[in-house]
């Protein structure tokens, strides 16, 4: 059964069909939420709320976009609603540049080593922290691209912006993340030829 048939069944109230949709997307949604909030409990709550909304509003889904784009769009809404309720003390720190008061990484002198899985893990954790410090426009775009693997077209549709805006936001997001890594982990200071190992 293809996705269109699955959606049609779920729209008629077939819970088994809906559960298949949940199975297909729950991991992506959870990771998306986790990257957005950095809190496993919040990510779980977001997942539950997302699929509640998907379930309730699936009858209205006509198929003008792909189901994944529609679900990811709802996920971003729920992420925004959730994070809006919390105070993010790191807000704007990526843009502040020279703010001496901003928190510094405990990974003071992390060196890049493509063979070292432990350090790769640390890198991912540092990037995850960096993502939470992006402003929401850039965060949405980079999460949809790198976590969800969405195309620029899909992101543009989901966010209601032009493809040019998506390009700009992704470029800016990566630039800010790069600067964050340099500032907090002494990345890219050595052995530049190894960066592109994979």
């Amino acid at each position: 059964m293809n996705e269109r048939e699955l959606v049609a069944l779920a729209q008629k109230g077939n819970k088994d069909a809906f559960e298949q949709i949940v199975t297909t997307y729950e991991k992506k949604i959870y990771n998306m939420a986790l990257r957005y909030t950095q809190d496993p409990e919040d990510a779980l709550d977001i997942c539950q709320e997302v699929f509640l909304r998907v379930y309730r509003f699936l009858p209205r889904f006509k198929g003008d976009s792909t189901l994944s784009t529609w679900i990811y769009r709802i996920t971003m809404n729920v992420c925004h609603d959730t994070t809006a309720k919390k105070t993010n003390i790191y807000e704007l720190s990526l843009d502040s540049g020279t703010n001496d008061d901003e928190p510094t990484s405990e990974i003071a002198d992390l060196r890049f080593d493509p063979e070292n899985e432990f350090e790769k893990k640390q890198t991912r954790e540092l990037i995850a922290r960096g993502i939470t410090m992006l402003d929401s426009d850039h965060r949405d775009a980079i999460i949809m691209r790198d976590i969800n693997g969405m195309s620029y077209d899909e992101i543009a549709y989901a966010l209601g912006v032009s493809q040019g805006t998506v390009k700009s936001r992704i470029s800016r997001a990566r630039e800010k993340l790069k600067n964050f890594l340099i500032k907090n982990g002494n990345f890219f200071a050595q052995n530049q030829s190894k960066y592109n190992e994979d």
Binding site: L52, R60, W70, A84, R124, V161, S168, F188
Partner: protein, 263 residues
């Protein structure tokens, strides 16, 4: 680092560049060490992000399914509005405040470079009643424009302003013109019912407004009751419809909503 290659680097990394553009960048990287270094760093970040997927909690699936156990899907809405009788409403269409960010839109509207204005309509008489929207027989309209002249909008995102809709209409344009600040490309109306649905029905008229109308209710029971009234009033017919981006944003804040396209 050559600025003009920055976006192209990311497009190549993301597999979004044409073969010609890829070739262009490749040739440039051969002769520009700074860009080569930048490209490798961006590629490294993208690679790290793409292997960040983590295992989900063991109870994720059961938690999700438990969450919908006693929930019914929304009724198949919105409806195409076909009522044609009009009433004189121009006199009571009052801009109460222009350029206000809409609280009911929550965080999203503000973060999406959207401008909003609140319009109050009093169906009880033809005089302006100001901002208060809880007057008897009254209701409030929140008209949300797709884009305004937001001076704080990042210049790189300016293309967003060009995303016009074929559903543009004159009524929404009037509101924007009156405010003097907002140029409406397309509007989504948010109606807070305040328990006076007949008044709302009277306002759902193409001569008064057109576009997407979201009527929000405090509870699902109220919403379902309103649906019946709308059907009994003979002013709606069912129509397949996919949520637009605007409606999705709105529903992000309110589940108990009826969306109607007024044409």
């Amino acid at each position: 680092m050559c600025e003009e290659y920055k976006i192209l680097m990311n497009m190549v990394i993301d597999g979004e560049a044409s073969p010609e553009d890829r070739w262009l960048l490749t040739e440039h990287l051969k002769v520009c060490a700074a860009c080569r270094s930048e490209y490798e760093q961006l590629q490294y970040i993208a690679n790290r992000m793409r292997d960040m997927e983590e295992d989900v909690p063991a109870d994720l699936h059961s938690t999700i399914m438990a969450g919908i156990k006693d929930v019914k899907p929304a009724i198949r809405i919105p409806y195409k509005f076909i009522k044609t009788a009009g009433i004189a409403v121009a006199a009571c269409f009052v801009i109460a405040a222009a350029g206000m960010f809409l609280p009911s839109m929550g965080n999203f509207a503000a973060k999406s470079d959207m401008a909003a204005e609140r319009v109050h309509v009093d169906t009880g008489n033809t005089s302006a009643t100001g901002m208060a929207s809880s007057t008897s027989g009254g209701m409030s309209y929140d008209s949300v424009a797709d884009k305004s002249s937001d001076a704080n909008m990042p210049t790189a995102d300016a293309e967003y302003a060009g995303t016009t809709s074929p559903q543009d209409n004159g009524n929404t344009g009037n509101a924007g013109t009156t405010s003097g600040e907002v140029t409406h490309e397309r509007a989504v109306y948010v109606l807070t019912c305040n328990g006076v649905l007949p008044a709302v029905i009277d306002k759902l008229n193409p001569s008064y407004l057109s576009g997407e109308v979201v009527i929000s209710f405090d509870t699902e029971t109220e919403m379902l009751d309103a649906y019946k009234q709308l059907m009994n009033a003979g002013c709606v017919q069912t129509s397949d419809y996919a949520l637009s981006n605007e409606c999705t944003k709105l529903i992000g804040s309110s589940l108990n909503s009826i969306v109607i396209i007024v044409k």
